[in-house]
């Protein structure tokens, strides 16, 4: 579990829920979409952390965090 801590960034934390991320940075919806998750509109958004999304969809957690971070920092604008 320790190595996962290294993936937390200044803004994002792997334990943040999908709901937290979408509420704070709505533009990140396209990241969840581009990784082919079904998180957008899911009733369980408030329960699933970024880490759990990566596990459930077998996505690389560092890749997911990196992509989310780009949108959070406004590098990729819609």
């Amino acid at each position: 579990m320790l190595y996962l801590k290294g993936m937390n960034t200044e803004i994002l934390h792997i334990q943040l829920t999908v709901e937290d991320v979408l509420k704070n940075w709505p533009q990140t919806y396209s990241v969840f979409k581009s990784h082919n998750t079904d998180c957008i509109g899911c009733l369980l958004q408030r329960f699933c952390s970024i880490q759990e999304v990566a596990e459930a969809y077998q996505i690389s957690l560092p890749d997911l965090i990196t992509d989310l971070e780009k949108y959070v920092k406004g590098i990729n604008q819609i």
Binding site: L43, L44, A56, Y57
Partner: protein, 231 residues
């Protein structure tokens, strides 16, 4: 304990009401407290009052001739229920209202609402909005019942309940306190079918089902069944 009439604005039908109207309605309201499992009214009773739940939770259910109960909807705080008498002559309640926990509601004579509606068009419009939303919801549920596999229906109900009442445990599972009978009633199926489906999900490691509690071990697995996603 008297309520602040302005709180009635939380009721969708009264959201556009004037302060004076809210005061009038609250002056005509009787507070009724009902213990967990007890009833506000029964199916077939004359619909003399409409209710606004001010605390707790209640369910509206119908009973078939064979005794099977079907849960129609869950009522949360500041929702109106049993308002049929205000729009139909000699109406009887089409469903029974049972408290799911200790609950309190305001009861107002349906005739009084009918009287107010004569001079306040906003009340009729808001009631129509409420009714059309019910119809829409029922159409959706009818479609689910007519076309969807029972497993999917149970998964959808479980997700809805989880979204409303689930609690995340320290190991990442989601815990839900609900009986299998409740789940059967809300999915329009039998207790036997719910038990069979839950056992199968248990075998797959998706859930752990107790008598009055369900622990969702793999939330995404349940979402996949509910939404027919490729797993």
């Amino acid at each position: 304990m008297p309520i602040d009439p302005m709180n009635l604005r939380k009721v969708s039908v009264f959201q556009n009401a004037t302060e004076n109207d809210l005061k009038l309605i609250s002056q005509h309201a009787i507070e009724r407290s009902v213990e967990d499992g007890e009833f506000f009214f029964f199916q077939g009773d004359p619909a003399e009052y409409f209710y606004v739940l001010i605390s707790g939770r209640a369910k509206l259910m119908q009973t078939t001739t064979t005794g099977q109960q079907v849960n129609l909807r869950t009522i949360s705080e500041w929702q109106m229920f049993g308002a049929l008498g205000a729009v139909r002559e000699n109406a009887t309640y089409p469903a029974t209202a049972q408290a799911m926990e200790n609950s309190t509601a305001l009861a107002v004579k349906s005739d009084y609402l009918k009287e107010l509606m004569q001079t306040r068009p906003y009340l009729s419009v808001e009631l129509m909005k409420l009714m059309t939303s019910y119809i829409q919801e029922m159409q959706e549920r009818y479609r689910e019942l007519a076309t969807e596999k029972v497993e999917r229906r149970i998964a959808r109900v479980l997700l809805r309940l989880t979204a409303q009442m689930g609690v995340k445990t320290t190991d990442g599972s989601i815990e839900l306190t609900f009986t299998r009978q409740d789940l059967a009633e809300m999915s329009g199926t039998t207790l036997y079918t719910v038990s069979r489906v839950l056992s199968e999900w248990e075998r797959q490691g998706l859930v752990e089902a107790g008598r009055e509690r369900v622990l969702i071990r793999k939330p995404h697995g349940v979402v996949a069944i509910a939404e027919e996603l490729n797993q």
